[in-house]
């Protein structure tokens, strides 16, 4: 019964009043009052500039904000646009629903997809409520390929500093590319566009109450699109927000990326097991731009956390990693700081063995993901060291080399997978 009633009657009533739309903008929120007002304003401006004739609605799925976020979202008036000489032909609805008393990204996304299912938009976009860099043009960049060219998923590319998004450049991008055969740079992003049919397919088929509790649902959505052979492209948006990440954020981030990716591998095995090599995704604008300015990173602390992890989690690693991989990790842990290097091949083997162990559930899956954290820090140390003086081209080459390593060693993952049986 709970399955049938996850949309409240009040939300259904609001959807009924909105009716069929051409564009749906999903805005998951939780205590975003500081930023969400300007984000909604920018979204409205993007609609008026790029889609003045289309029927549009902003759907705010709120995870129990206590700071007035939903009221702010629904209160931003389109009439405020007059100052910028923008005039709306149509009514632009902003409606809000509280899907839970605490934030769960998967539930927020599910609510947005359910709204899309009922309102039947041609194109949808999910936007981050805390983006400081959002521009009105982002709407067009994410929606036009769906509207005009029949794509089903538009993922963004950004201008980033070479040391930002290391989880993406060192794990998510190369592994996704190697396994699924498509070069999607940002398979996990808070902003993306998708077609109504893709949303409908995902809503109907996805297991929403699995053990991952919906972590990394955005990534799983991308993977589902690839696996389902939907048409996918990338669109360059511009600067990516500089969000300060604390060390404590790493484990949740790993759950949403590595955890979600690992969990997708079993259902998608028929897809990725037959893929060899990779193909570029159609891309509008640059597929990635790299900023090079100086950025202070505490590399020493990263190595210390790696060493501590190797020492403290040995028994855990024995369950997850092959003896040779663990031995090699223990060997590099004894190297001095100047000599320390976590090479690409070892990193790829580590990840593949984690993925296979995740599948075998050798220990609690969440513990497996948590155990990856110190190793990723060791890999970060090496990436930062290797690219300290690298140019943009040099950084890109190193990432490309890592991707090729993931592709080259894919048979290793397949062997591990078969040994499971």
């Amino acid at each position: 019964m709970a399955e049938e009633s996850y949309l409240t009657d009040d939300f259904l009533r609001q959807l009924m009043n909105v009716g069929e739309v051409d564009i749906l903008i999903g805005l998951p929120t939780h205590n975003n009052v500081k930023t969400v007002g300007s984000v909604v304003h920018t979204i409205q401006s993007g609609i008026l500039r790029g889609f003045p004739r289309e029927r549009a609605v902003i759907i705010n799925a709120d995870g129990g904000s206590r700071d007035g976020t939903p009221e702010l979202v629904t209160g931003v008036s389109i009439d405020d646009m007059r100052a910028s000489n923008l005039h709306a032909l149509r009514t632009l609805h902003s409606i809000s629903t509280k899907y839970a008393s605490s934030p769960r990204p998967a539930d927020a996304f599910r609510t947005i997809l359910a709204a899309a299912e009922l309102l039947r938009p041609k194109a949808c976009v999910v936007m981050s409520p805390e983006s400081a860099n959002i521009e009105p043009e982002w709407l067009s960049k994410l929606l036009r390929p769906i509207f005009d060219d029949g794509f089903d998923l538009v993922t963004p590319t950004y201008r980033r500093h070479k040391f930002e998004g290391l989880l993406i450049t060192n794990l998510l991008y190369p592994m996704t590319r190697a396994l699924y055969g498509l070069r999607i740079r940002e398979a996990y992003s808070p902003e993306f566009g998708f077609s109504g049919r893709l949303g409908s397919q995902f809503l109907g088929q996805n297991a929403w109450n699995d053990e991952t509790e919906g972590a990394g649902v955005e990534l799983r959505f991308t993977l589902a699109a690839i696996a389902g052979k939907y048409r996918i492209c990338q669109s360059f948006l511009g600067d990516k927000d500089r969000v300060e990440r604390h060390a404590v954020d790493l484990v949740p981030a790993l759950r949403q990326t590595a955890g979600a990716l690992f969990s997708a591998l079993e259902p998608d095995f028929p897809v990725w097991s037959v893929v060899t090599g990779s193909q570029p995704a159609p891309t509008t604008g640059s597929d990635q731009e790299v900023l090079l300015e100086t950025l202070r990173v505490n590399r020493k602390r990263l190595r210390e956390m790696f060493l501590a992890g190797i020492a403290e989690l040995e028994s855990v690693f024995q369950s997850i990693l092959s003896p040779s991989t663990l031995a090699e990790l223990q060997r590099i842990a004894h190297l001095g700081e100047e000599e320390f290097r976590y090479p690409a091949e070892l990193w790829v083997r580590t990840i593949y063995e984690f993925a296979a162990s995740y599948q075998k559930s050798v220990i609690s899956r969440d513990h497996i993901v948590q155990a990856l954290a110190p190793l990723f820090r060791g890999r970060m140390f090496t990436f930062l060291t290797e690219n300290r003086n690298a140019s943009a081209v040099g950084v890109e080459k190193n990432i490309e080399d890592l991707c090729l390593e993931f592709e080259r060693l894919k048979p290793h993952l397949l062997e591990l997978w078969k040994s499971r049986e």
Partner: protein, 546 residues
């Protein structure tokens, strides 16, 4: 039926706009005339209209369909005589139908004797009746209205070797209202027709009467002074007669034309009309509520005049560029449908001949605040002919039956002033009065019915309006109220069925009586009032506390 003696008669009127030339030809010369029009008054009476607005019928070279007048005090010979007009006027009054005629104040034809005298020499006594100049650089701030045909507001007169001012076609020189003799003469023209019994004037192109350097020469205080002077004389000598302004302006700029109830009685609400079409196509009430929110209050004795279509193009002057582009794309797919800043099409073709949309638009026309005007032929869903030049495509002969010349004229078809519509969908064999009279559910009979319902209460003509804003933007809902009479109007602008919840708590305890079928709907309670509506459906409910 005797004429209603109420001096505010125009507030309760339903006006029918017709052209003598296009309505009915009594003498078989291919051109409609006053005797023909008089012969069709029974039809108009049965339709339920109680005022008829006639386009110019004065002697004219007809280079602008009669808006180029060559003699203000006579009838064009093609349409009959002054005596024919008198007879028609009396017959209309006998049926309770008032007659509104055109008065083109701003300009005359260049064939008018006044202009011929004025141009004849620099020292002619009538030289100063028009606006002359040695150069064509004066009044540079004035826009050119007929962009498709004119490049300047000045035209060179080779006879008097100077330039004359014209805001419209170059064959329509503007009169000089700074000259007291001109003002006096135009009052004499008005008095001539008023004494005959004419009930009202539609004053054409009134914003442009006076020119001043450094302005856009529109809506100037001096222009209002001229109009107020005419109104004062009208009230003094002919109380109960009415002036209707044609001023294609934004509502805020139109407001001064009502003055303090001492200038015009009525004015066309030009910006509303395109927004009704826009709202229908967008399936969104926003354009309509937005423009009505911007519409200022007018004096109690004044009234807006509303219309869906008329003899001109569907004007898009009073919309934004984005809105105009949208309207062109939605309603004028081919360039030949466009003229100046507008769309030269009739109501039925604009609405794809969709009966539901035609009814909805007429429903709004009849229930929004103002006096509705029905353009001849739209009551039967006549089509247009975009292959005819200028605006002539919407001025084709009235289609009375499926016989010879559609019953319009006994002349040989090639002698008709304009060809009848003959295409399979809109042609006179398919769309005509006789056929629709015979069909209970025809558009004609439906129009007759809605006019009857509208006339059953004064609330539509005189009541206040309060918009309800249900969250469903496809629904345009409003409450009209006059004293204790309350009418709720709900329009579904959408092509699909809609549910809507209306906040009617202030009317708790009232029952709703649907005004067309007189059926009773549930009593209003504390909860939002739920209505489900079919595509393009509308309801008029009388609220009664019983």
């Amino acid at each position: 039926m005797p004429l209603n003696r109420d001096v505010l008669w125009y507030k309760d009127a339903t006006v029918y706009q017709a052209h003598v030339r296009t309505f009915h030809d009594s003498n078989g010369d291919g051109i409609g005339d006053f005797q023909g029009l008089e012969g069709k008054l029974d039809y108009l009476e049965k339709l339920g209209i109680n005022a008829i607005w006639l386009m110019p019928f004065f002697p004219s070279p007809l280079r602008d369909d009669g808006y180029d007048i060559a003699d203000y005090n006579a009838v064009h010979s093609s349409y009959g005589t002054l005596e024919d007009f008198r007879k028609f006027l009396g017959a209309a009054h006998d049926r309770g139908i008032r007659v509104i005629i055109e008065l083109v104040l701003n300009h005359t034809s260049d064939q008018h004797p006044w202009f011929q005298e004025s141009r004849s020499s620099q020292d002619n006594p009538r030289r100063d009746w028009y606006v002359w100049s040695d150069t064509d650089i004066r009044y540079k701030g004035a826009r050119i209205i007929f962009l498709d045909t004119e490049t300047s507001n000045w035209a060179w007169d080779p006879i008097s070797k100077s330039f004359y001012w014209h805001r419209f076609f170059s064959h329509q020189p503007d009169l000089n209202y700074d000259n007291p003799a001109v003002r006096e003469q135009m009052w004499n023209v008005m008095r001539f027709w008023l004494e005959m019994g004419v009930d009202a004037f539609r004053l054409d192109a009134v914003p442009y009467l006076v020119e001043r350097e450094g302005t856009n020469c529109e809506n100037l205080p001096e222009t209002h002074d001229v109009l107020k002077e005419l109104r004062r004389k009208l009230d003094e000598h002919f109380p109960g007669r009415m002036l209707l302004a044609e001023a294609n302006q934004w509502p805020a700029d139109l407001r001064p034309y009502f003055g303090d109830g001492d200038e015009f009685h009525m004015a066309f609400h030009f910006p509303l009309m395109p927004r009704m079409f826009m709202g229908l196509k967008l399936e969104d009430r926003k354009p309509i509520t937005e423009i009505l929110q911007q519409t200022p209050e007018i004096p109690p004795s004044c009234q807006w005049s509303l219309f869906l279509r008329n003899h001109d193009e569907l004007t898009l002057e009073m919309v934004t560029d984005m809105e105009r582009d949208y309207m062109y794309d939605m309603y004028a797919g081919t360039k030949t449908m466009r003229l100046n800043l507008g769309i030269r099409r009739r109501l039925a073709p604009l609405l794809d001949n969709d009966r539901r949309r035609i009814e909805l638009m007429n429903g709004m026309l009849m229930s929004l605040p103002g006096t509705p005007i029905i353009y001849y032929g739209d009551e039967i869903g006549m089509g247009d002919n975009i292959n005819l030049g200028d605006r002539n495509g919407v001025r084709t002969p009235m289609q009375w039956n499926g016989g010879w010349n559609g019953g319009f004229s006994a002349a040989a078809p090639e002698r008709l002033f304009a060809p009848l519509i003959e295409d399979p969908v809109y042609g006179y064999p398919a769309v005509n009065v006789l056929r629709q009279k015979a069909s209970e559910h025809s558009l004609l009979n439906w129009m007759q019915s809605i006019i009857t319902v509208r006339k059953s209460t004064a609330v539509f003509g005189r009541g206040s309006i309060e918009f309800l804003y249900p969250v469903n933007h496809r629904i345009l809902a409003y409450v009209r109220r006059l004293d204790n009479e309350v009418v709720l109007v709900v329009n579904n602008l959408s092509s699909s069925a809609q549910a809507v919840e209306l906040d009617l708590r202030r009317y708790k305890g009232n029952i709703l009586i649907e005004m067309f079928g007189r059926n009773i709907f549930p009593r209003v309670g504390d909860l939002p009032y739920l209505l489900t509506m079919g595509p393009y459906q509308f309801y008029w409910f009388r609220l009664r506390r019983i």
